[in-house]
Each structure stands twice: as structure tokens, then as C-alpha cells.
């Protein structure tokens, strides 16, 4: 499972500086709802579509089916084989990309105003009428298998996979969305067709657009594009509690720099304390040079090129994760510093100066995220998936401003669990003490 860093950030919307970001809600005759920011100054449109569920909808024993299916959407549709489809798309200078994650399938498209109808008709074929030709299936399957084998030798991928497995076990979040060599090798065309029918359905679609298109034109476009998809999909997976114990898990791997993933349970997106947790994380490990982890591990001690932490509120679980990489003979010290900072934050919270600095950054940086039609469409669709309303853009910064030191102290005591902080280290780490109760 990949960290959902970007998606999380995309929830946090605007300030008065974004007067131009006027969100319209479009209801289509067939009953779809879409959000639109109309921006006619450049003659193209970005369209973002998400289907809730994603790779977690894989049927039992079919791990990797959704991932492979999504990889095949652009490999032939309707009357066109893979190369025919690509040639048509290129001739229109349209861009379509298809991706899958643990909670959603995403389709991102951009197309010129001058040939919008043809571009959308082509996109429609890939969503509604993909061919899943045997030839394309074998070709893309071989690519996926190669990726799985490469991940098995990649320290970051190994650490991610081991962490997910330890925390989530048999839940779909506990295994990798691309599947295993065995599961992917066994997938048939029928499995791919079934994965398509289970996941790309009208009942769980979210739509946003930004660019040179009117609300009426968008409504027509959406009904044409999505109207022929199946009505309902497979049931969503159950929620699961993330459980960890404090300690270090080492996956021995011959490489000069150890990579460590660390974390424990996080906080739900709709938790009343989510904003306090979000500001807290900015101060502890939010990526900038000012964050405590960066200051202590990199700036003061030179132990790493980068260290950061991030909240991962998913649909069925929540994690609080981090990552650091240090030479094998220095990773032990890096981990020790991170543990100290974790405990210090849990016990002492933040200073007034840190809080003010984090708020100024978070509220000021927010409008900078709206840099183009594509990013705006992605932000809008993310808001919808999190159950937010369009006017959230005007209240978001007030929520950040309202966070107090007491709020942070409260959420720090609850969120940060030094006694559950698990590190998964891939490499040949030297001098890490044995500290597990035998998980």
C-alpha cells in the first residue's frame, strides 16, 4: 500500500487569495454529480474521475486483478487494438492516465477544446468497452511480473510490504496491490473482466473538471462518458484497526544504506481532532527543514538526506507513518533520535512559536496548490471522496487557525504512541538493540 500523502493534502483548500476558484456543482440528467471550476482562458479541460474501492476490491485468490485490469484499459477498446488506441489518442493530442490505489481507481484526462468530442468518445471506449485482448493481457502481465520481481529487491518496496503485512495481515491493505508472482500468473481474462465489473461502476464514481468547459457541456459529457457503466460494484472491505508493538524488525538485505519505515495507528479524516493532528505532524515531521525530525536527524547530525512523517487516513484504517534512510552504521542513531522526538512530542507538545509558524505556513501554502487545471480537478475530486462540501474551501484555513496548544497536547497524547512505534529496517543495520517481545 502506498502512502496517500498527496491525497491527504489535497483536502485542504483555499483562502481568500483563491477568489478565482469558484466551484460549481453540476447535476447531470442521468443523476451524476460533478464539481467544476470553469477557466476558459486556455482552450483545454482537465477531467478527474475516481471510483471508490480500488485494489481492495480484488476477489479472494485474485490479488492483482484490479491493478492488471487498470493497466489494460489503454491497451485496446471498441474497434481499436492497443496500438490503434494509442495512435488515435496521440492524433488528438489528448492525455489519458489510469491508476489504482488501495481505496480508488483514478482516471485523469486532459483534452483540447477543438477536438473535445472525439477525445471523450475515445476515453469512453476505454472505460466502458475495454477489449482485454489476450495478446495485451500477456504483454502487460509480463510487465507487472517484472515489476513485482524488482520490488522484491528494492529496499523501500520491501519495507513497505513488510510493514503492511505486519499491520494488516489478511485484510486487503496487508498485501501489495500488484499481487504476487503466483497470483498474477494465475489470472485469466475472465478475472480481468470480473474486476472491471466489480470496480468501475456508477454507484461509486466521483467527478471533477477544471478548464474550458461550461456546466451544460460537462453534464452532457459525463452522461455520455459514464452512463453505460454497470450500476453497482462489489462490496467494500471491512474496517480494520492498525495494531503495532514497539520495536525494530530487520529484513537483512545487502545494500549500503538502510531504509526504515516507521509508524503505528493514525487518525481518521473525520475525527474532530484531525486538524490538530495535521498541524502536529507538520511540526514533528512535515518534510520542511523546520520540522523537528529534519532538524534533529539531518541538520544537527547529518544522519540522513531526508526524514519525514505523514498521516495516512484511508477509507478503512488510519496510519501515522514515517521514513528515513541512513548508512548501515548510522541508522541505529537515526532511529534513536526519532524515538526520542516521538516521546518528547507525546509528553510535551509544541511551543507557541512552533504552532504559529506551522499555521502561517499551512494557511499560506494552501493557495499555491491550485496551480493549474489538473491539480484543481484532483483537489476537487479528493474533497468529494472525503465527504466535504464546496464551501469547505473558505473554512479550511479557519480550522487550521483555530488549533491551540491544548488541542495539540490532547491529540499528541492520543496519537503518538512511543510504546507502539514499530520500525521496519531493510539493510544491514549495525548496532540496533534487540527490543521486541517476540512478535
Amino acid at each position: 500500500m502506498k502512502p496517500l500523502f498527496a491525497a491527504v493534502f489535497s483536502l485542504f483548500l483555499a483562502t481568500p487569495a483563491l477568489a478565482a476558484t469558484d466551484i460549481q456543482t453540476v447535476e447531470t440528467p442521468m443523476g451524476f454529480t460533478a464539481w467544476l471550476v470553469e477557466e476558459p482562458s486556455i482552450p483545454f479541460t482537465s477531467l478527474e474521475i475516481r471510483f471508490r474501492g480500488g485494489t481492495s476490491l480484488d476477489a479472494p485468490g485474485k490479488r492483482g486483478a484490479t491493478n492488471l485490469m487498470v493497466g489494460l484499459l489503454e491497451e485496446g477498446a471498441g474497434d481499436l487494438d492497443a496500438r490503434g488506441f494509442a495512435a488515435e489518442r496521440d492524433a488528438l493530442a489528448a492525455g489519458f492516465s489510469y491508476d489504482s490505489g488501495p481505496d480508488s481507481i483514478s482516471v485523469s484526462a486532459r483534452f483540447l477544446t477543438e477536438n473535445r468530442d472525439e477525445a471523450v468518445a475515445l476515453l469512453r471506449q476505454s472505460l466502458v468497452d475495454p477489449r482485454f485482448d489476450e495478446e495485451a493481457l500477456e504483454r502487460v502481465r509480463a510487465q507487472v511480473l517484472s515489476g513485482i520481481r524488482s520490488d522484491a529487491r528494492d529496499p523501500d518496496a520491501i519495507a513497505n510490504a513488510r510493514f503492511d503485512e505486519m499491520v494488516f495481515g489478511d485484510h486487503p491493505y496487508g498485501s501489495q496491490p500488484s499481487g504476487t508472482e503466483e497470483s498474477v500468473t494465475a489470472l485469466t481474462r475472465d478475472d480481468i473482466v470480473a474486476a472491471h465489473a466489480a470496480s468501475m461502476t456508477r454507484d461509486r464514481v466521483y467527478i471533477a473538471a477544471a478548464g474550458d468547459i461550461s456546466p451544460d457541456a460537462l453534464a452532457t459529457l459525463i452522461d455520455d462518458l459514464l452512463g453505460d457503466l454497470p450500476a453497482t460494484g462489489a462490496p467494500l472491505p471491512a474496517d480494520i484497526e492498525a495494531e503495532t508493538s514497539a520495536g525494530v524488525t530487520v529484513v537483512p538485505f545487502d545494500t549500503p544504506q538502510s531504509v526504515a519505515m516507521f509508524g503505528h495507528a493514525g487518525i481518521a479524516r473525520n475525527d474532530p481532532d484531525f486538524f490538530a493532528a495535521y498541524v502536529l505532524n507538520q511540526i514533528l515531521g512535515g518534510g520542511g527543514f523546520e520540522a523537528r525530525l529534519m532538524t534533529e536527524v539531518r541538520e544537527k547530525r547529518g544522519l540522513t538526506y531526508g526524514v519525514y512523517s505523514y498521516l495516512v487516513p484511508m477509507d478503512h484504517a488510519a496510519l501515522y507513518l514515517g521514513r528515513v534512510a541512513s548508512a548501515n552504521d548510522r541508522i541505529g542513531e537515526a532511529i534513536s533520535v526519532i524515538r526520542d522526538e516521538w516521546r518528547k512530542m507525546a509528553e510535551d507538545g509544541v511551543t507557541e512559536a512552533e504552532l504559529e509558524q506551522a499555521k502561517t505556513y499551512l494557511t499560506g501554502a494552501f493557495p499555491l496548490r491550485f496551480d493549474g487545471n489538473g491539480p484543481i480537478a484532483r483537489i476537487l475530486v479528493g474533497m468529494q471522496m472525503d465527504g466535504l462540501s464546496p464551501d469547505y474551501v473558505t473554512t479550511r484555513n479557519d480550522e487550521i487557525e483555530a488549533v491551540t496548544r491544548d488541542d495539540i497536547a490532547r491529540v499528541a497524547a492520543r496519537l503518538l504512541q512511543p510504546d507502539a512505534l514499530r520500525f521496519v529496517v531493510v539493510g544491514r543495520p549495525e548496532g540496533l538493540e534487540d527490543e521486541t517481545s517476540g512478535q
Binding site: E39, I42, R162, V248, D254, E299, G302, A327
Partner: protein
């Protein structure tokens, strides 16, 4: 090698956008030069109250002196330490306190520093950037801690990644005399010895307004930028010691094809890479580079590319194929081809299939429909680009620090449209000369090491 771009022109404002580009794009670009030689480019985009502020130096890793590889990049890190006015780390902190983001990067031909902020903070960014252009203060402790950081950065980017280690070996074999054969981040043994003297030396040789280009993109007018630049950058005097012509060691005639094998137990998927020495864009002389840019699209971009068609779809010997060419370079660039073979195909067979595909292409020439599609896409890119003035700003910065002029940048789109199929094949014939090439195989060790049984601690 290219001549030095005119760094010391007389201050003059020119509203520059040639007719074709002006028709296609609504993005106004203005340039002028301060009296101290600092070139200024303003790219207007008034859709949101945001600006990107960048300062680019005509100094990169290829301008380092032998034995100090990595110093250009190390110095880039050290510019975030203190000056007389600002303490270490204060620069980034002030940017963050103003809701902005900042970063920097080093390449072969340039080092650049940039911030994204609300438009009304532009003056503050200029004040701080001008300060560290000439007032940097470093001490031994900064050096030692930050040197550990760049060594960890090398671990992350290179030592932990067999593909990156192989690319270093390829580069070192491709360039027999030029500094492009030395990694930007530096060779580890030289990085370990970088010191205060080396950092200060590089700083004093290259950092001055007459060796820098200011680029501002976003919600700002040229007049506003001029007023602020006059206030913050113009007071820094030109440094006559800085900005000498970049006379780097050039390549001798290359006489022998090179072949190398890099084995690493961490490799799960073997592949092969071929690199040819290739001409770059020169001021007023970009036609061959334009033909190579189109050749790159034709051979290796997307499902309908020549290599994908021949190796992936028809012969079924490849999982992936690709090509890469970037003509924006001060000295000779390179043209790269890559083949990831299918599971039961050897690298030797994949290489033979690659050579066969190239030979067929040279014989049969360019598919007219494909070229038409590519040119239409390049035109459409001019529309899509308007949505990201930051990438447009980067394009100007990269070109101007690679010896090109504003006129070269603006002539480029029309030039690409004017290239014929014959010119593309001719450029391919010229570049695909085995004597000027390196072919590398990335392979697993005999005893490949998969991750072992985990140990609980």
C-alpha cells in the same frame, strides 16, 4: 562548444514573442538586463496571485576543477546556511513563514534556487536571494555536518540503486575527456574530501550577478519586477573575476565502441542501455538538435514508437523500450536507447534486435502519419504549457544557462514544426555511429541475493 551567451548587454526592455508563438500562446515573456549584467526574464500569468522566483547560475558540476567533484552541488546545500544577516536555516524558515516553498538543484551546466510564494512577497525573496549571492558565511562545522548529508544523499540516489550505479559507469565511459563523465553529485572518494576552501573557491569563482539569471513567473508585471530587481539585485556590483568563457575540456575524436557489463546482486530485471554522443542546441544553430528531438519521439515515445512496435509488439523480445534525448546542454549531449528484454530473451539477443530495428528505420525512414501526430502533439503542448508557467520558467532558465538566448527558446517550437522526415533520418545516421557509443548491460550477480528471512530484534 558554444559561445558564451551575452551576459553583459546594455539594459534594454524587449517585449519578445515571435509571431507564431504569440498566436499560439497568450503567455507574455519580457526580458531585460540590469547594469551589473544580471539578465532578467519575466513570464506573466495573472490567473492566481502567486509567483515563482528563480535565480539560475551559469555554473554546474561540469565547471568544477578536477579532483573536487560534487562541489557545485555541495555548495548548493551550503547556500541554505547563514550569511551576515541570516543564521543557518533562516532562509527556508522565512520562506515557510510566508507560506512559501523553496528548493534548489544542481545540474551539469547550472545551479538554480527557487521559491513559490504569494505575489506580494516577491521583494522579500529577492532581498534574501541577493544576500546569499555574495554574503555567504560558512564555518567548519557547517561543512562537516552537511558533507555527511550529501554522502547520505549519494547513498540514497546512487549506492542503493544498481541502475544509478550503472548510469555512472556509462557516463564515465561515454565522455572520455569532458566533465559530463563525472557524476553531478560527485565521486564518493572526492566528496569525502570536500572542504571549506573548495566550497568558498567555487562560490567566489561563479556566484555574481553577471553570472546569474533572474526568472520571475506569475502574477507580476515586468515593471514591478524591474523596480524590485533594481532595489535588491542592482546594488551588487558585477564581478569581473566571474563569468569567464566556459572553456571545458572537449571530447577527442572517439574511435572505439565501448561495451560494459555491470553486475549487482540487487538487480531483478536486467536491461541494456546504449548511449551515443550527440550534438546539442547551439545559439542560432538548433536544427540538428530539433531533428534529434523528433527522432527521440519517433523511436522511443509511447505505444506507437518504432522500438515498441518492432521489439515489443512484433518481435516480442522486449517488455519495455525507450529513448531519451535532451538537446539543452552547453556542450555535446547524448542520445540514449533502452531495452528491457522479455523473460526468456538474453541481453545479446535484445541488443541484436535493437540494432536490427535501427537499421530498418534508417532504411525505411519516418512514418508520415506518426510524424504528423507528433507535430500536432507538440503544437498542443503549447496550449497545455500555458497552464504551468513554472515549467515554462524552468525551460528558459535551463536554456539560458546552457548558452542559448531568449530568441533561441522562442524559435524552437516553429523549428520543430519545420523539420522534415529526411532531416530526421540524416540526424539519426550522423548520431548512430558505433565508434561514439557505449552499450551497457545491467545484470544480476550469479548468486543473486534476495532478501533473507527476517530477523526480529
Amino acid at each position: 562548444m558554444k559561445r558564451l551567451a551575452a551576459a553583459l548587454t546594455i539594459a534594454a526592455v524587449t517585449l519578445s514573442a515571435p509571431p507564431a508563438l504569440a498566436e499560439e500562446t497568450a503567455t507574455p515573456v519580457t526580458d531585460f538586463t540590469l547594469d551589473n549584467g544580471m539578465e532578467v526574464v519575466v513570464i506573466e500569468d495573472h490567473r492566481a496571485p502567486v509567483v515563482v522566483h528563480m535565480v539560475w547560475y551559469r555554473a554546474g558540476s561540469a565547471d568544477e576543477t578536477a579532483g573536487t567533484s560534487g562541489i557545485a552541488h555541495f555548495l548548493e546545500h551550503l547556500l541554505f546556511k547563514g550569511t551576515e544577516k541570516m543564521e543557518a536555516g533562516e532562509f527556508s524558515r522565512v520562506v515557510a513563514q510566508n507560506g512559501g516553498t523553496d528548493n534548489a538543484f544542481t545540474s551539469f551546466d547550472q545551479t538554480a534556487y527557487f521559491q513559490r510564494v504569494a505575489a506580494d512577497r516577491l521583494g522579500l525573496m529577492m532581498e534574501m536571494e541577493a544576500d546569499r549571492m555574495v554574503n555567504l558565511q560558512l564555518d567548519e562545522e557547517d561543512i562537516l555536518t552537511e558533507r555527511d548529508v550529501i554522502l547520505e544523499e549519494r547513498n540514497t540516489r546512487v549506492e542503493n540503486d544498481p541502475a544509478a550505479l550503472m548510469r555512472e559507469q556509462m557516463g564515465a565511459a561515454l565522455y572520455q575527456n569532458h566533465r559530463y563523465g563525472v557524476p553531478i553529485i560527485g565521486w564518493r572518494h572526492e566528496m569525502e574530501a570536500l572542504d571549506l576552501e573548495a566550497a568558498t573557491g567555487f562560490y567566489e569563482r561563479h556566484y555574481a550577478p553577471n553570472n546569474a539569471i533572474l526568472i520571475v513567473a506569475g502574477d507580476v508585471t515586468p515593471d514591478e519586477v524591474r523596480t524590485l530587481a533594481e532595489e535588491h539585485y542592482a546594488p551588487i556590483p558585477a564581478n569581473p573575476e566571474v563569468g569567464a568563457p566556459r572553456l571545458r575540456p572537449q571530447e577527442p575524436p572517439q574511435l572505439a565502441a565501448r561495451h560494459l557489463v555491470y553486475r549487482d546482486p540487487r538487480v531483478a530485471q536486467p536491461y541494456l542501455m546504449r548511449q551515443y554522443l550527440a550534438p546539442e542546441r547551439d545559439p542560432g544553430d538548433q536544427r540538428t538538435a530539433a531533428a534529434l528531438t523528433l527522432l527521440d519521439e519517433i523511436l522511443g515515445s509511447g505505444q506507437t514508437s518504432v522500438l515498441n512496435r518492432d521489439l515489443q509488439f512484433d518481435a516480442k523480445v522486449a517488455l519495455h523500450t525507450g529513448s531519451y534525448y535532451d538537446g539543452t546542454s552547453y556542450d555535446d549531449s547524448s542520445f540514449t536507447l533502452m531495452v528491457v528484454p522479455a523473460a526468456d530473451v538474453s541481453l545479446e539477443d535484445a541488443e541484436a534486435a535493437l540494432d536490427s530495428a535501427l537499421a530498418t528505420f534508417l532504411e525505411e525512414g519516418v512514418d508520415g502519419d506518426q510524424l504528423e501526430r507528433i507535430k500536432f502533439q507538440l503544437n498542443a503542448d503549447l496550449v497545455y504549457q500555458q497552464d504551468s508557467t513554472e515549467s515554462l520558467a524552468r525551460r528558459y532558465g535551463s536554456a539560458l544557462t546552457s548558452g542559448l538566448t531568449i530568441e533561441d527558446v522562442q524559435a524552437w517550437p516553429d523549428l520543430l514544426q519545420s523539420i522534415t522526415a529526411e532531416e530526421i533520418v540524416e540526424a539519426a545516421r550522423q548520431v548512430f555511429d558505433a565508434k561514439q557509443s557505449v552499450t551497457g548491460y545491467l545484470m544480476a550477480d550469479e548468486a543473486a541475493a534476495a532478501p533473507q528471512q527476517e530477523v526480529l530484534q
